[in-house]
Symmetry: C2
Amino acid sequence: MHVRVKTEDRRQAIIETAIEVFRDVGFERASMTTISRRLGGSKGTLYGYFRSKAELFEAAMKAAVETPGDRIMELLDPEADDLRSCLERFAKAYLGFILEKNVLAITRTAVAEGFDSSLGPHLFEQGPQRALATLAKFFAEQMERGRLCKSSAVVASIHFKGLIEAGFLEEALYGAKSQVDRRQAIPSAVDIFLRAYGPGTQEQLIAEPASSKTERRQVPADRSRER
Amino acid sequence: MHVRVKTEDRRQAIIETAIEVFRDVGFERASMTTISRRLGGSKGTLYGYFRSKAELFEAAMKAAVETPGDRIMELLDPEADDLRSCLERFAKAYLGFILEKNVLAITRTAVAEGFDSSLGPHLFEQGPQRALATLAKFFAEQMERGRLCKSSAVVASIHFKGLIEAGFLEEALYGAKSQVDRRQAIPSAVDIFLRAYGPGTQEQLIAEPASSKTERRQVPADRSRER
DNA sequence: AATTAACCGTACCGAATGGTCGGATACCGA
DNA sequence: TCGGTATCCGACCATTCGGTACGGTTAATT
């Protein structure tokens, strides 16, 4: 036929503004009126593009997290020659990402929404879950190549993520300051991880449910690194 | 004078009811009317004991977390003969605690409140921060005794906490299910921790800011355990 | 029994919110 | 140029919430 059409640009502009507002005041406190005002438009327009506040919010979350998150996961290069420095680079980028104001705000909101609405679990799958899966795949590959001792790659990825986030994520979520410096913490966390998962540890780290009476030995290993 | 007095019992009853409601629907969605109804009383009474919703909320948080949390920290017995099993016992209790519905709800709310209100940081200090401090003190003691390699006790406690929570806390906060079983995860996490921090690792784990060009060696260690 | 404060119930206030609607206007394709 | 739609604006609705006010009732103390 004819006429004017809802533009993708406008949609993006709305999402961007929404992200801003959500970041500043959180989901519950963010009103559609505020968003429309900051956008310079009208509330009605918002409802022209999104059927509800929740829908707009979900779109905003996705836009803010998806692409940059995936890009970080690409830092896990299976061909990298130095595992330690590869992990450190990744950890630095990852930590920087999840501590970003935008991402923090989204995390906060997702958590706050974790009460009932399926939004919480859904966002977990799209975000942390996917990251964890990618990480596990990477670790599995490294185990194959003998650069990590063989064990459950899933558990290893969980431990790695835990070590990296420890001391930062929770603090940031609460709005408190970290006790430690990021520059120092990352190599330290990676080091701890490699101490436990590095090559030279022969036996299974994770006992299968069957044998809970596992003997654990320790095997020497030599590693050095330079910066 | 004479007459009826605001009783401490009633205050406690209010707090308990408040905890219930907060746990069920979260802070923002919890209305004073709901609380008073479930309490079986009147909204006015609430305001007789607490000047505002925030004040009631803070009291409820404190009551729900403080005492049981402190009790768990007592599981860290410096005199325990077997460090590994001591850590496992503690980890189990700790994890059970922070994954409780009550505590989860509080954490969620505290996080949601992390935007501005000083409530977030304040709750962090009262909760996780204190736990971390106790843990660090315990680790420092163990390092003295040669049961852990000497390094920063603060960092060690952060790593330990991270390893234990990894795979559970974030999932629970989002309202998602964990990928791993708690019974298996705890010994596994403790094991990883001891691999890295156990005795026999001589040098400093955490480089001081000065020497960022640290050589890291690995020293063999023998440990075994039985259940 | 008299006193007095806690308590209940309910109504109410003011503010804010998500969402809708209608009319005026700017914009674009044909 | 013209038709039609996106957009704007403001009003509006229904609801909810924190908080207050008030009259009537209950219960503890003297």
